[in-house]
Symmetry: none
Subunit: 595 residues, 2 copies
DNA sequence: CTGTGGGCCGCAGGCCGACAA
DNA sequence: TTGTCGGCCTGCGGCCCACAG
């Protein structure tokens, strides 16, 4: 029943930043992080429990790669046993596993055209050339049927054709069925992968929901606060039972504290930091003498999961995240001030092993443009005392690593308090000198109302655009859903708030497809052919079978650039119709509803 | 959030046999019945709990009529508080509530054509005439939009048109949306109802799944064993969380036993008997000196939920259903042998208040034609001892009811072991003296073939004629009802007792209209135009789509004068056709049934 | 090279009368 | 009286090319 799925495809779906600890390796388990990860909006309450150490060294006994049967959401079940003997592989011993090349894969974020019900998928040439079976180009047109397995091992057939002027690769027949079955939307990604077995695989990566924008005003998916979790639970309610509950956290933490074997579930795409971290990684990070003002960089996945981006900031304080319950925990030990604070509003604290010190020069010299962190914090005692019983690593013991550590050379060149905390093989391509030369504080963007701000992504060339969200009454804000399961379709019903007022939540997926309550599933509203605001009113009136054209109180949408827009009859409507990605419409139908 | 829904529509959806106790009335709560009702295939386990009385007198503090938002499955939430003071209304005080006429409603089981995505719904004329708003027949075609509210108050709009050749009423536009939204299939029923407010309502009654037929080989839905429940749970699995769980039962039972207020959920369409029964009903039933061999009848809902039918049987034993856990419980006290055992295979035991003794004459006097029940059983100890603490009603204490009891006179006249156990308001129109005066053994009609006989009642003018049943094996005895209400007119069904043998119960009302089983409801058999016995045979054969003319073993009827007649091909048929009021026909169709 | 728009075609949804049960 | 069938029409899904960025 619970068979570990294909690890290659699993990792491709999980994203580039996810590295699962190998079996037999040593990790630190963080109950705090586990609680954060739990899909319960209520904070997991440890107060009534016996004291639990903030981090527990464990051996990894098993790792199962799993996926939600409905949503294809990947997650892992990790078997752990608290390690008192010190056996097990430390990080450097298992590098080979991590270093081995992943199989060739290609991820593409779906465009409107890919995701709309029009039919086809535009295959990037690189993907067709390197991953798909070779076409016979002597045929006219060159065409073949390809078969791809999804994460569950289900096979999907697609017609792959090379046609059009100019010629391009397309998936036609079969694609629409895949999109509908997986309920993909523009913005989601598909991953094609040629497994080492030779099988072609296809995976799904959901967009980090639009709802996230509203809740967190962050388009970033890397780290985020627990308010995210609240959203995702609600979202996953109708779904599987595989989410992490508060009870599971408590159970795991108690077992860990008492030395018993336990299991944890980890959802790599849930936007909370890993809570089972390779022991070596943590140890290295904690060898750094963290102090206020230190400059660092940290990797985040871009919104479309296609790339990794680095953000920079300064440590503004070093102190435990929860001084009451976890006074001696290194979890989220660092309070940080980002160079681009608007982008990462919800990331106030990070754990040391997630960041990498970059600055040779102490941060005290920052220019007036830098974010206003509090100087007094810099003067707080910079050394954070860790209970040596739990964390028996000397703070300045880089020499301990000796020549076995691939970072040694780097260390030796920077031994004047220089923080070092790289993790895994991920950053080997980094050219430090280059990075540091370009690292400078960004200008601080002042945001007046932080309840309604939105931040978006994300440009071609790794540059970040920031857009502020207009202030609107919250009831009109569309709370997007990343996925519509069969169950959820009817959740997306219209809500009759009063006798004369209907609020419809519509989601345009793709181009013009509108998901509505069950009876109207699949009905399409072709925004693109509508030339005017009034045309929209009439069209909606038709669709909902209202006797008179609806009064639209409010139409708001996110366009393809992630810009939040408010539509009125005075605005250029065509632009709306062309670019709307998600919208919410507040209708006033004083007439009763047909059908 | 949890607002009680429209009671009229709720009752229409729940079915004709469901009577909810009014607020302030007194009921007996049966933990055993509650456990049976629980949607858990695992038996609720009371063994580890403190002893709980088998029945607990409670006051009804609230009744909320609810429906599952997804499936429209109706259920009630009943607030109860154990009654120690004896306050609250007893049954007879609330008769008025029960007696009031239900609003006019019509249920139709969906045909393939109705449930197709082809589009429309064929409206039976009766429904269109009596329930829908009147069409303007001067228009061509006559057409209107009708609006109906579902159980949640949502409005649905349908185009109602009168067209086709020959003309018929149809619902077109809007119907498909309704079918899809409610996920209706052929075999499910819709209920149209004209509320007292004047609103048109539309409700849904799901088929008691196909599986049931196989599981139980019973088309009846009234009472059934728990094997039904197991199936229905499975059916409802995807549904709401409002089902009754074992935990809820335990909680309710504990609270009830300790005198605390509690709430129960009751799903009327789950095919388990009510476990909150009007106190008066239970008391009356328990005043009967139940003993083996007693003859009774019991009402069941027909498969299509459209009508109520009566089955007869004999009490084969009187003893608690669960001698170990509930040794002194009246719940399912009677072990019964049905006249038509194949029909009710799963109903082995019933509670006394669900059945009604029918025979005036002690079963000992039955003629040799009578069914061969075992004499020894009659000699078993007939008195069932009930713990007086829990059930403080003397067995022969009709005097306790005093003048408040409408049955008192009747009791007094029949104190020689005569079973009496009338229930509810159903029989209030019974005129006892009249009944008794006319009660005499009918001349035993000697029937050569005792496999086929029939008997009926009836009269024009509210007078009741009592006819003794011919002595025939009980399985073929149809027991008519003293009064035909408008509802009851179409009580009919056909029972396929074996592969080659169909037995049809037909009831003619008024002149010549014959209603038949679900698929044929409303089909008329115009007796008056039939000139011969053979014509009847052919006609019936047509109606039931039999390949050959049916063999009529027996046709018997009461005419408008209440005379009992036996029709053969030698009898004057025309007279039969003109005067028959009720009849039963036993067919022999050696040919198998079409369609 | 690849995203988007529009044309076009086939099919399913849905309304109809014919016909027979 | 009403269930089912086949016809017919419309609108949507889906495949195609043109064109532009």
């Amino acid at each position: 029943m619970e068979k570990s799925l294909d690890s290659e495809l699993w990792h491709a779906c999980a994203g580039g930043m996810v590295k699962m600890p190998p079996v037999s390796s040593k990790v630190f388990y963080f109950p705090q992080g586990h609680a954060e990860h739990a899909s319960s909006s209520a904070v997991v309450d440890f107060t009534h429990l016996p004291r639990i150490p903030p981090l527990i060294l464990c051996n990894v006994t098993s790792v199962k790669f799993l996926a939600d049967p409905k949503t294809d959401d990947v997650y892992a079940k990790i078997g752990l046993i608290p390690n008192s003997s010190g056996t097990g592989l430390d990080q450097e011993q298992v590098l080979d596993d991590n270093v081995k090349q992943p199989p060739v894969s290609f991820a593409k974020t779906l465009t409107q055209s890919d995701a709309n019900n029009g039919g086809g998928f535009s295959v990037p040439r690189y993907c067709a050339d390197t991953i798909f079976p070779r076409l016979d180009f002597t045929a006219d047109p060159p065409v073949q049927n390809i078969v791809a397995k999804d994460i569950h091992g289900e096979t999907w057939k697609f017609r792959h054709i090379y046609r059009g002027t100019p010629r391009r690769h397309l998936l036609t027949t079969g694609w629409s069925a895949f999109v509908n079955h997986k309920r993909l939307m523009a913005g989601d990604s598909v991953v094609f992968l040629r497994a080492v077995s030779g099988d072609l695989c296809i995976g799904v990566r959901r967009m980090k929901s639009h709802g996230e924008m509203k809740t967190s005003s962050s388009g970033w998916s890397g780290l985020s606060d627990s308010c995210f979790s609240a959203f995702m639970i609600k979202n996953a309610n109708g779904g599987c039972g595989s989410r992490v509950s508060a009870e599971m956290v408590v159970e795991a933490a108690l077992k860990a504290a008492s030395g018993k074997a336990f299991e944890v579930l980890y959802h790599p795409r849930m936007s909370t930091p890993e809570f089972c971290v390779m022991a070596g990684t943590v140890r290295q990070a904690m060898m750094v003498r963290w102090c206020g003002g230190m400059r660092f960089k940290m990797a985040f996945e871009t919104e479309d999961s296609s790339r990794i981006s680095w953000f920079m900031g300064n440590v503004s304080a070093v102190r435990p995240a929860d001084t009451i319950h976890w006074p001696d925990s290194p979890w989220r030990l660092l309070e940080v001030a980002w160079d681009e604070p608007e982008m990462l509003q919800n990331v106030k604290r990070v754990s040391p092993w997630l960041v990498e010190p970059v600055s040779i020069i102490p941060a005290l010299d920052l220019s007036p443009f830098s974010p206003p962190f509090k100087r007094p914090r810099l003067l707080q005692p910079p050394d954070f005392s860790i209970n040596p019983n739990e964390f028996p690593i000397p703070k300045f013991a880089s020499n301990l690593f000796g020549s076995r550590n691939f970072l040694t050379g780097y260390h030796n060149n920077n031994n004047n308090n220089v923080p070092v905390g790289m993790q895994g093989a991920r950053h080997t391509q980094f050219n430090n000198s280059k990075f540091q030369s370009s690292a400078r504080p960004a200008s601080a963007t002042n945001i007046s109302d932080n309840n309604v701000s939105c931040l978006l992504t994300m440009a071609q060339n790794n540059s970040i655009k920031n857009k502020e969200e207009p202030k609107v009454p919250p009831r009109f804000v569309l709370f997007g859903r990343p996925i519509l399961t069969e169950q959820e379709i009817s959740v997306l019903h219209h809500e009759k708030t009063s006798s004369n007022d209907c609020s419809f939540n519509l989601e345009t997926t793709r181009h013009c497809k509108v998901f509505m309550e069950a009876e109207d599933v699949g009905r399409t509203l072709d925004l693109s052919v509508l030339r005017s605001y009034n045309a929209l009113r009439e069209k909606l009136s038709q669709m909902f079978k209202l006797e008179n054209p609806v009064m639209l109180h409010n139409v708001m949408y996110y366009d393809s650039q992630g810009e939040f827009k408010h539509v009125t009859d005075h605005e250029p409507f065509r632009e709306f119709a062309r670019t709307a990605r998600k919208l919410k419409i507040q209708m006033d139908s004083t007439t009763s509803r047909n059908s």
